[in-house]
């Protein structure tokens, strides 16, 4: 019952100490910024609320629905928290959920907790919130914005978070990148569908019963430019890292070995995955990366432009 819906909680032992500590630092930075933002903008009323909502997300992960062949879809809740609470409070709530899962239920390691907070708290919350906002702006308040945005936010956040976890495993030499990233992303593309459907169901329910919880005027003002930049950096980072990592499965390991925390590699006489040995792959990886970065930049420029125009139109009218 308490088994995590998605195998995304990285246990201890899988990440190298260096990777774990770097991610802990990132997690602490994100939490400190989130605490400051929540403290400034939302005030004391939020403390009991966030405690209860963290418990709610934890309990909500028990909700499931049967799919087929004995499998079931689960709620993970990062997207729901991001959409309903905004990114900063969302990060705090998810960090607390991850913390309790690791400390009390051993769902995810203690040294690996930084990584889990970054993946499930920071990466998925920012991604979900960014995607939802973009769709909302495009929809201009139409109802389909909530449905499409909710589904897309939940699905993309699950997939991106799993890719972040796979990338960390690959950087630790715990799994070859050309296997870990496609596998994790592939599995979570399926899991994400369940998450998306539940998130949409929850949003429609709330829109019918407590419309004030779903309307976005408060959280939109809270976020501001920092979130846009963070989302952009995250998206570009993953756009660069993923194709690089999966076309050069040894690339990350080589970096790790050079730094000195992996056994030094020797050339192997036999390879099962030999496709990345094809000459010219450098250019291919490079072009994928360039295309990814350009695509991400374009999306953000368009989204930002739309947001600006909307704001202008609102103040003018």
């Amino acid at each position: 019952m308490l088994s995590s819906p998605a195998q995304m909680h990285v246990p201890d032992g899988f990440l190298t100490t260096t990777v774990s500590i770097v991610l802990w630092v990132l997690a602490v930075l994100a939490i400190v910024v989130a605490l400051r933002r929540v403290g400034n903008d939302l005030g004391e009323r939020q403390v009991p609320l966030m405690g209860v909502l963290a418990a709610c997300i934890f309990a909500g992960q028990m909700l499931n629905f049967p799919v087929a062949g004995g499998t079931s879809g689960h709620l993970i809740g990062a997207a729901l928290a991001a959409i309903l609470l905004g990114p900063w409070a969302g990060i705090l709530v998810l960090a607390c959920v991850t913390g309790i899962q690791a400390l009390i239920f051993q769902d995810g390691g203690l040294l690996a907790m930084g990584s889990n907070i970054v993946n499930m708290g920071v990466v998925s919350v920012f991604t979900a919130w960014g995607v939802y906002r973009i769709v909302q702006m495009a929809a201009r308040g139409a109802r389909w914005g909530m449905i499409v945005g909710g589904f897309a936010a939940a699905w993309i956040s699950v997939v991106v978070a799993s890719m972040a976890a796979a990338l960390q495993l690959a950087a630790s030499g715990a799994s070859p990148a050309n296997v870990a990233i496609p596998t994790m992303a592939g599995v979570h593309m399926l899991i994400g569908i369940g998450e998306g459907l539940i998130t949409v169901g929850a949003l429609s329910f709330l829109a019918a019963t407590r419309r004030d919880l779903v309307s976005h005027d408060k959280t939109a003002a809270v976020a501001g430019r920092g979130v846009w930049i963070a989302g952009l950096v995250l998206a570009i980072g993953l756009a660069v890292a993923s194709p690089l990592a999966s076309t050069h499965p040894d690339g990350l390991e080589r970096v790790a070995a050079d730094i000195g925390f992996l056994d030094r590699a020797q050339s192997s006489p036999y390879k099962i995955f030999s496709d990345y040995m094809i000459p010219g792959i450098h250019n291919q990886a490079l072009s994928t990366i360039v295309a990814g970065v350009v695509g991400v930049l374009l999306v953000f420029v368009v989204a930002y432009g739309v947001a600006r125009m909307r704001r202008g139109a609102n103040t003018a009218s």
Binding site: D12, F14, L63, L84, R210, F273
Partner: protein, 263 residues
């Protein structure tokens, strides 16, 4: 129904239970750090660390079989590391005439990951089973976690079981209305219908939590809550706890140094 069975804390009398929560938290974290820093394939050191973890289990009076079983929970995750056996570089082991060859380094790394994960998990279980959550919260404050964060943790813990109860009530209500959750018989319409109804439950849970959060805030405000979370000052570490802390840290630094001395 009350779901206190979720709480892994076991109320026993043991030296580990009696130990100051701050010392336990720090020692458990340092232990897991040392496990993580132990080089792959340093089997002697890993066995010693395993022995330390089992000793902690015994000292805490926990059922060894239970801890060993429960510590295996994370092992399915090791599937992610399985391909290393084939892809890692280094000397190969040919598997007869099958044409498949395994990497020695890959096997060593996979087994080390298994073992490290397993041993770390044991210590985490000892920590959770021998420390009550309020004590753990105090320890978190003592190691300078932000007050606001600890306050959220505390409130989350206080309402965790209430909300898990609520979630289980929702699930029970659905099960009793649709017979049972039986995917084979396609109970309750299409998948998307089922997903939407699960979503409705999640929304419902969220709404109830939101309203509960408001009520809790009002109740707290009526009792003088002003945004500042005050807690009792924790007493200084006793000489006994300090001795245990120092002894534990010395032991762990020896375990940290061993594989480096004999490498």
């Amino acid at each position: 129904m009350h779901v206190h069975f979720l709480d892994p804390y076991q109320d026993l009398r043991s030296p580990v239970h009696a130990l100051d929560a701050r010392v336990k938290l720090v020692l458990a974290l340092v232990f897991i750090l040392v496990v993580s820093l132990t080089p792959n394939g340093a089997w002697a050191s890993l066995l010693l660390l395993f022995a330390v973890a089992v000793s902690a289990v015994l000292l805490a009076g926990l059922n060894v079989g239970y801890v060993l079983r429960r510590a295996g929970l994370a092992l399915p995750f090791a599937l992610a590391a399985l391909p290393l056996v084939f892809t890692a570089p280094g000397a190969r082991i040919e598997l007869g005439a099958t044409g498949i060859s395994l990497s020695q380094i890959g096997i060593e790394r996979l087994l080390s990951i298994f073992f490290k994960s397993y041993v770390s998990m044991q210590m985490a279980i000892v920590l959770a089973s021998a420390t009550s959550f309020p004590d753990l919260l105090q320890a978190m404050r003592a190691i300078r976690l932000p007050k606001l964060l600890v306050a959220i943790f505390g409130l989350m813990w206080r309402y965790l079981f209430v909300l898990v109860d609520e979630a289980m009530r929702l699930l029970r209500a659905r099960d009793s209305r649709s017979g049972a959750l039986d995917a084979a018989r396609n109970v309750g319409g299409s998948i998307s219908w089922r997903a939407r109804s699960a979503g409705g439950m999640a929304g419902n849970l969220f709404m109830r939590s939101f309203e509960r959060g408001d009520r809790i805030y009002d109740a707290m405000a009526a009792r003088g809550y002003d945004g500042e979370v005050r807690s009792m000052r924790h007493p200084a570490l006793s000489a006994q706890s300090l001795r245990v802390l120092v002894a534990g840290l010395v032991l762990l630094s020896v375990l940290f140094a061993l594989p480096r001395l004999f490498a």
